[in-house]
Subunit: 357 residues, 2 copies
């Protein structure tokens, strides 16, 4: 018998409630036989749903919590009211206490990040955690980070993001030497601020299990130029939401086009199977889940409005990261980089150039 | 006889050459009878094209220039080599000397901005020029600025961008009180850095011909929440290019869907007229042209690879801005704001809060 992968699920915090999260866990359980869930939330509600989900019922235990962090509560208030007693905190804490390998929640991002940082703490040498998104591209998927945990970051933060993203790419997609790029407003080396240029120099010279490919522009993400794209959180968040908005806008225009007359309605019927494939490729539920990187444990944030398939995808992802021990992969890379005397030299040079700027 | 609107056209600098720019001018001339062109570039080349464009030939004069700024030349080098002698400089200079009301070029953005700033100079009280883009949204069009002229900006720069964008919205779209928003990673007032919050406070309190609607997220642009969205150039540029990349990615997926079997090919034929409408709405040639704001003259940048329709659209836009005297509209608004003692008070408060942060 293989060992079970244990996942802590914050059942209650999302906008879609227990129905979506529990059904998602059930789907993921059917796809990955060896999962076991700790379900955090209102016991009566969860029990009621489990009567319809016998498989999940047989592979889970409920941990009752009285408090659910509201979606619009400020992080500081969430910590004050929800520490220890909320389903969110308890799910994260079960990772901290090694009862679960990772936690999944669709709750309030700010509160989740605050609780995860306080409860799990950051890895040694990491001073900024990052949120990584998986971005569907023309040729596959690209990991983009940070998506908004940090407004402004230093060159060193960007370097750490690159190592963490590359480790995630190896662990999730099995890419041995992920291609890493830095998001910028031009591909030329002279573009962008000093932090970006310093980070580029370090990536180029560091002997790490990644291939640095240079600066990537906004449209380079969807071209799939890199396996990992690093950026500060403000631009990263704007980019992600702009892409989502554009996709929805075009989808609306398409709907209008299909509804405009009987010819186009017939066209829709003929095209439906091919459109289904297209929709699957662009479905946010298939790239659902912001992964928190830089912590001493795995925490995955689902979209607040995730449906069951969205939860299932985020849980699949979490299971893969637990199985392949993402946190230790990151730890090993950071050790290699920060123990290498050449890295010290690169860093010293880059820091002195920053001071002189 | 109405007075002619005179446009200086940098014929040669784009990737598509004289063919696209001159055909575009001819199309725009057919749509707006009262245009007159000063055509800057190689005389022989222009003359050759004009033999096929009698209407443009009758409504233009050629100003020969020996030098064309290459697309990949750095701004500093372009200034050294192209000042006075390039078609780009000469087109801008004819605006400076009041021979033309505005200049249009598809050349190298950095060089164009550098030459425009040096030749035309910035308006009084403006210390950062901005590039404004017209963004097609679900319900119309939104002006977004800055698209990359400035990497980082102050609260005061953002305010100026808002006034300039609002003036442009009035002049181009005839919107009397344009809705202005600030691009941010959340709609809540607590999100974002101090500069954004300070700018928000000033917008809210200033008595100007605009309606401040608050922070707008990346997907708020395509929803058409605001008529004008202001942002610093790094995030603005990343947002624009990400949106373009996403649109191309979906368009590729659609093509694949239409080509996947005989049913989908038939569907394409049925759908073609409706798709044409959709394509027009999303066609970059229909929202072509980055408008340089904050200068003592009108300069419009076409996409480097613009076709004739792209040029025609940028020229239409330029003509409308000349006709409605955009530069003076901006000047008037800046005068109102900076002469209002309350503005001084708001600014003093905001600056002291910045010093104290």
């Amino acid at each position: 018998m293989t060992e079970k992968i244990v996942i802590a699920l914050d059942v209650m915090s999302g906008e879609s409630g227990a129905e979506a999260s529990l059904s998602g866990a059930n789907i993921s359980l059917e796809r990955n036989g060896n999962l076991y869930f700790h379900l955090f939330g209102d016991q009566a509600t969860i029990e009621q749903h489990l009567t319809k989900l016998p498989k999940l019922s047989a592979n889970s235990q409920i941990q009752h919590s009285d408090f659910v962090v509201p979606m619009d509560m400020k992080p500081r208030q969430a910590l004050r009211k929800g520490r220890k007693v909320s389903s969110m905190w308890q799910a994260i804490n079960s990772v901290q206490e090694n009862h679960a390998g990772g936690a999944v929640s669709a709750g309030n991002t700010g509160a989740l990040m605050a609780m995860a940082t306080i409860c799990l703490r950051t890895l040694r040498r990491i001073d900024r955690t990052a949120i990584a998104a998986i971005w569907p591209t023309r040729i596959g998927e690209t990991i983009v980070l940070d998506m908004g945990a940090n407004l402004h970051v230093s060159a060193e933060n960007l370097i750490d993001f690159g190592f963490m993203g590359a480790a995630m790419s190896r662990v999730i997609f099995g890419i041995k030497t992920p291609k890493v790029g830095i998001l910028n407003i031009g591909e030329e080396e002279i573009k962008g601020n000093e932090d970006l240029k310093t980070a580029a120099t370090i990536f180029r010279e560091a002997k790490m299990p990644l291939e640095y490919i240079g600066f990537v522009e906004g449209d380079g993400i969807s071209k799939g130029l890199a396996d990992v794209v690093v950026t500060e959180g403000f631009a990263g968040n704007i980019a992600l939401k702009t892409a989502e908005g554009t996709a929805r806008q075009i989808s609306q225009l398409l709907k209008d086009a299909f509804n405009s007359n009987w010819r186009s309605k017939l066209a829709y019927l003929l095209l439906a199977p091919s459109l289904k494939i297209m929709r699957q490729k662009m479905d946010p539920n298939n790239s659902n889940g912001g992964v928190f990187l830089g912590l001493r444990g795995i925490v995955v944030k689902c979209h607040g409005s995730s449906n069951a398939l969205g939860f299932a995808h985020a849980i699949d992802l979490t299971a893969r990261m637990i199985k392949n021990d993402l946190v230790n992969e990151i730890r090993k890379d950071l050790d290699i980089f920060y123990k290498d005397p050449m890295s010290e030299e690169i860093k010293a040079t880059s820091i002195s150039s920053e001071v002189g700027k």
